[in-house]
């Protein structure tokens, strides 16, 4: 039956036609299309990966930022604590220093006062001794007979000595 016996003419033409079609499409048709499609799908894949990486980087960045903020806060509180400690220390130091200085000055003043007094007493003693010597001299110089005259003399002498002493 003619349906299942291939005819030579059609075989021949089919080989020629399919061969030409195959050559044309395999050379100028499909490779161009599939290459372009491949290029695009590669590009899409690359872009997706890049986007993924960028997102990851962004997430890392946010994490890093949070970490930095946390660190800064810790640093801040540490510095504040340190500053307050330092202030306390300086204050107490200053107080101590001031009280020590005051003590020292007081001591010094006491010593000076004591020394002054000492020298003043010594001075007075010396003056009294000198006045006594002067009085004794005057008494010795006058006539010791008349008692009234003597007493008047002594008084005069004492006054004199006093007056002589005063201008000093």
């Amino acid at each position: 039956m003619s349906l299942i016996t291939p005819s030579f003419g059609l075989l021949f033409w089919m080989v020629v036609i399919f061969g030409i079609v195959f050559f044309l499409l395999a050379k100028f048709g499909f490779p161009v299309i599939t290459k372009a499609v491949q290029t695009r799908s590669d590009h899409i894949a690359d872009s997706l990966q890049a986007a993924d990486e960028a997102r990851e980087q962004l997430a890392n960045l946010a994490q890093e930022q949070a970490k930095m903020i946390e660190e800064t806060r810790l640093e801040q509180s540490r510095i504040l604590k340190e500053a307050s400690e330092t202030r306390e220390r300086i204050l107490s130091q200053a107080k101590e220093d001031a009280s020590a200085e005051a003590e020292k000055m007081l001591e010094h003043a006491k010593l000076e006062i004591a020394a002054e007094r000492e020298s003043a007493i010594r001075d007075i003693r010396r003056q009294v001794a000198m006045i006594s010597v002067d009085v004794a001299e005057k008494i010795v110089r006058k006539d010791l007979d008349v008692s009234e005259g003597q007493l008047a003399l002594i008084d005069r002498m004492v006054d004199e000595a006093e007056q002589a002493q005063l201008p000093n």
Binding site: L10, A26, I33
Partner: protein, 335 residues
């Protein structure tokens, strides 16, 4: 197709009805006339007058003879009972490379396919694929090409698929366009090209060559010295079966496509033929049968569109499977 054919055949029906004594509607010649190859392209019949396109006959017998199929008798040739061109005097078949109906259909469909694919390729050449989305023809064909290449060829053939995808894509689109044009009833469609064994045979032959020319060492070892007990190879039973298998694979491809497409055409035509068969049974029966046949024909046409795609897909997939099998790497070398 149903409706168009029905309309096209209306005058013929009217004529038949007018002269019922002329004989019954010949179903087998009607079917064969539509699915077989011919030396002229019969388009329709108007008021008993044949309208057909004569095609060139090319015959090699004592030199090259080229003549129109209308002038067959004048050139000393005639058709035999099978409808083949023979020498009128001796009755012998010359070397016949005539441009028959199927050849013309093939030429037209091939030209259409090349045009479509090259236009699509031109779009990709002229546009930056990273900046523009495909438009027009490229947008239409790209999904199909990508589907066939990425989902079928790549998965089935394996890592070397790039080398074979042009052939497999060509085979797919070639079969698809010929299948679809075969369903389209108006000239230049309607030729039963992929339902012709010569056409499917050549396609299977190309697959056979693709499989065997590029087969790797493992493939040939599997055929000639397979991993079976030695008594199966000493008397070469297994190698013989394997070598037979080399040929049965493309043979099955050939038969599958041929039989499916031929069956589809015959089914459709049979449904149409029912209309003419019942023409003599009175207007009521004929009218109701016509409606049913037309509806059924629409359904079959839709089915045939699916089959057209499916058979192209199956042919491509099995070709890819055979190529993939010829490129298998041994699963483990110790065997």
């Amino acid at each position: 197709m149903t409706l168009l054919l029905a309309v096209a055949q209306l005058p013929a029906r009217a004529q038949e009805a007018a002269s019922p004594e002329e004989g019954d509607f010949d179903v087998s010649s009607f079917l064969l006339g539509h699915v077989a190859d011919a030396y002229e392209w019969h388009i329709t019949e108007i008021k008993g007058k044949e309208i057909s396109i004569p095609l060139p006959c090319i015959v090699i017998e004592d030199g090259l003879h080229v003549f129109s199929s209308r002038k067959m008798a004048e050139n000393g040739y005639t058709l035999n009972a099978d409808g083949k061109l023979v020498n009128a005097a001796t009755g012998a078949r010359p070397v016949d490379i005539s441009v028959t109906k199927n050849v013309l259909g093939l030429l037209f469909n091939a030209a259409l396919l090349v045009l479509l694919i090259l236009l699509c390729a031109r779009w990709y050449r002229r546009h930056d694929v990273l900046k523009e989305k495909p438009a027009g023809l490229a947008a239409l064909l790209e999904p199909v090409i990508v589907m066939i290449e990425q989902d079928l060829i790549k998965d089935v053939v394996g890592p070397e698929y790039r080398k074979y995808s042009p052939y497999l894509l060509t085979a797919f689109f070639f079969i698809l366009i010929n299948n679809l044009m075969g369903i389209f009833p108006v000239f230049p469609g309607g030729a039963n090209i992929t339902g012709n064994i010569a056409v499917t045979g050549v396609l299977a032959l190309f697959t056979f060559m693709m499989v065997n020319i590029f087969g790797n060492k493992h493939y040939w070892k599997d055929i000639l010295w397979p991993d079976v007990p030695i008594f199966l190879k000493a008397i070469p039973i297994m190698p013989l079966i394997e070598i037979l298998g080399m040929f049965t694979k493309p043979f099955s491809l050939m038969i599958r496509l041929f039989a499916n497409m031929l069956a589809g055409h015959i089914m459709l035509l049979s449904v149409i033929a029912i209309i003419f068969l019942t023409a003599s049974m009175g207007p009521v029966l004929n009218g109701s049968i016509t409606v049913i046949a037309a509806l059924f024909g629409v359904f079959l046409d839709c089915l045939e569109i699916l089959v057209a795609f499916l058979q192209a897909y199956v042919f491509t997939m099995l070709s890819a499977v055979f190529i993939g099998l010829a490129h298998q790497q041994p699963a483990n070398e110790t065997n």
